[in-house]
């Protein structure tokens, strides 16, 4: 690399390398030529400063499903975010002994239940509003969530 200067193609390669390795920041210095690449992190908004909540047993039948809150679509990565439509406690399964509704890498269909948010002693099912693959789960089971907080990232299926 030392005998050639960094060109456009080289930079494109670096960018795809960053994406592939899920890196957010990269710096390279070659013979006085310095390049710095960083990309926005798709991390959840800063968590609430709340003492961790004990996981209370999930009681009562699940109530009517609630569409998720405002969604943000990042066109480039085909990522779709499911955000919390309410303040409550996040549960990945219908009861402590059941398996989680979804796991990372799992394919989900529109209207499929992704999680439950308990609010006011009511169990609210949160459904997916798209078809895709779960690429990220931002919240741990039993943790409190606030309005608009990111819960899942779904990789949209490219047609």
């Amino acid at each position: 690399m030392s005998d050639k200067k960094i060109d456009y193609e080289e930079i494109t390669k670096l960018v795809s390398f960053l994406e592939e390795k899920h890196l957010t920041h990269f710096e390279l210095e070659v013979e006085g030529f310095k390049i710095k690449i960083s990309r926005a992190q798709s991390a959840p908004p800063s968590p609430m400063k709340i003492a961790s909540q004990e996981v209370s047993s999930v009681e009562g039948a699940a109530n009517s499903a609630i569409p998720s809150g405002p969604v943000v679509i990042e066109e480039e990565n085909h990522l779709h975010f499911i955000t919390s439509p309410m303040v409550g406690t996040f549960y990945r399964a219908s009861d402590p002994n059941s398996p989680p509704f979804v796991e990372i890498g799992e394919e989900v269909k529109k209207s499929q239940t992704l999680c439950i948010i308990e609010a006011m002693k009511l169990m609210n099912e949160i459904e997916s509003d798209v078809d895709g693959i779960i690429s990220e789960i931002y919240v741990e089971n039993g943790k409190p969530v606030e309005y608009g907080q990111r819960l899942f990232a779904i990789q949209l299926l490219v047609v």
Partner: protein, 450 residues
């Protein structure tokens, strides 16, 4: 005492409650909407929870989200501030049934005072003077005509469930009655989903004077003088002062006694305000009671040297009234409400505050959630700062306020600072000669400009 208090409000009043709570050694939880992410109350509380989008009905009025936030943060009390859920009896009820103390009166008190027609009847039973009017809700136009004819015009139609000037119509002649009756009914229906109206005699040249009351859960009731609130525009107060230049010691004694009697009669247990109309002959009539902390409470705090919000929290925790009966008014206090609005057209002026310099110094108090670089959301009220002063006499207080306002600088948005300076130098204002019609001279002037 509580250990953690959630403040179900925003803006300057959220900061006011956070200060009181911190001084009492309590932890604080702020709730906020998405458009208030960068608002000061979210930065000054110990914890914060986003409760919804910008629209108030989905955030600051969202009872399930606010209660969930209280539960998740383990707050044991909720302070509602003013506006939003402060006078919602259902919210007070739900708080209590969830084991969270509502910092305010009992839900039944909010319900009673929320219905202006029922409140009138109850005050009549408590022997508090009320303006002549219909004893009950009026059913139809013919009944309205009958009552209005008996009382004589002008009359005022009011929504039973009303407040904030909605569903309120002044009728000057019997020919106007039909049209105004229908308009008021429609307004009441859309604003409060209750079209019930009642009629009162309209006092054109009256003053709006209110009495601050503090009552605990042990039967102690104390009135803390009056606040003169006649400088108002469309039922929105602009400048308040205490003592009122119109109220003498004799009238003050009568009015504070009436307010204490009323609070005792209904069994009121919190901070509250009884609003009266006072005519030229110093006769006073009950108008309504506000079951919450008032925007203008600082002027009472200044002349009595007390903290009403801390007292309100202590009372909610079951403590006995800490104020002594010997409390005395000292000096004169004024408050100006600085709004983000055009001083001539009165239209709101949201936007970013590029630079702000608020006044200070001895006897000057500023309650504000504004800061340089803050983008005022267009979704809520336009109040950006309350500036209050305390001085030994009324002329000195006015001079101090003028000095404070002249040193106030707000760049980036329009504010009503110039309007305040105009009022403060108005010869009728400085002479203390004014009533609720005072602001009309400025509106007329502005209408001529168009």
């Amino acid at each position: 005492m509580f250990s953690k208090i959630l403040i179900a409000n925003r803006g300057e009043i959220a900061l006011r409650v956070i200060r009181a709570a911190k001084e009492l050694g309590l932890k604080t939880v702020a709730v906020y909407s998405e458009s208030d992410r960068n608002s000061l109350h979210t930065m000054l509380a110990d914890e914060k929870v986003c409760i919804g989008p910008a629209k108030a009905s989905d955030s600051y009025l969202n009872i399930p989200n606010i209660l969930s936030a209280a539960e998740l943060t383990k707050a044991d009390a909720i302070h509602p501030g003013y506006g939003f859920l402060a006078e919602n009896p259902r919210f007070a009820e739900i708080c209590e049934s969830s084991g969270i103390t509502f910092v305010g009166p009992q839900a039944a008190m909010i319900k009673l005072m929320g219905n202006k027609s029922l409140a009138r009847q109850e005050m009549k039973r408590a022997r508090v003077p009320i303006i002549s009017g219909s004893d009950k809700v009026i059913e139809d136009l013919s009944e309205a005509k009958k009552i209005a004819k008996k009382m004589g015009f002008p009359v005022i139609l009011k929504a039973a469930a009303g407040g904030g000037g909605k569903g309120m119509r002044i009728v000057r002649t019997s020919a106007q009655l039909e049209e105004q009756f229908n308009l008021a009914q429609n307004e009441a229906r859309s604003a409060f989903s209750d079209p019930s109206l009642y009629i009162e005699k309209y006092l054109a040249s009256a003053r709006h004077i209110e009495i601050q009351v503090v009552a605990d859960k042990h039967g102690n009731v104390l009135a803390l003088g009056e606040r003169e609130c006649s400088i108002q525009r469309k039922h929105q107060k602009v400048i308040e002062e205490t003592p009122s230049p119109f109220v003498d010691e004799r009238l003050r004694k009568k009015m504070t006694k009436a307010a204490e009697d009323a609070a005792r009669y209904i069994g009121y247990q919190s901070l509250g305000t009884f609003e009266f109309l006072v005519d030229e002959k110093k006769r006073f009539y009950f108008m309504e009671a506000n079951t919450r902390v008032q925007v203008e409470h600082p002027i009472t705090e200044m002349i009595y040297n007390v903290d009403l919000v801390k007292e309100q929290i202590r009372i909610a925790a079951g403590e006995k009234l800490s104020f002594s009966r010997d409390l005395e008014m000292r000096g004169h206090s004024l408050e100006c409400r600085i709004n983000a609005e055009d001083p001539e057209t009165f239209s709101p002026s949201p936007g970013t505050i590029d630079f702000i310099l608020l006044p200070g110094g001895q006897g000057v108090r500023v309650d504000s959630a504004a800061y340089q670089g803050w983008k005022i959301p267009p979704d809520y009220d336009s109040l950006i700062a309350k500036i209050a002063v305390l001085a030994p006499s009324r002329p000195e207080a006015i001079r101090k306020m003028q000095t404070a306002l002249e040193m106030t600088t707000i760049v980036g948005i329009k504010s009503n600072l110039p309007l305040h300076l105009t009022i403060l130098s108005d010869s009728d204002f400085t002479a203390g000669r004014y009533n609720t019609q005072f602001m009309e001279r400025y509106q007329t002037k502005n209408n001529n400009h168009k």
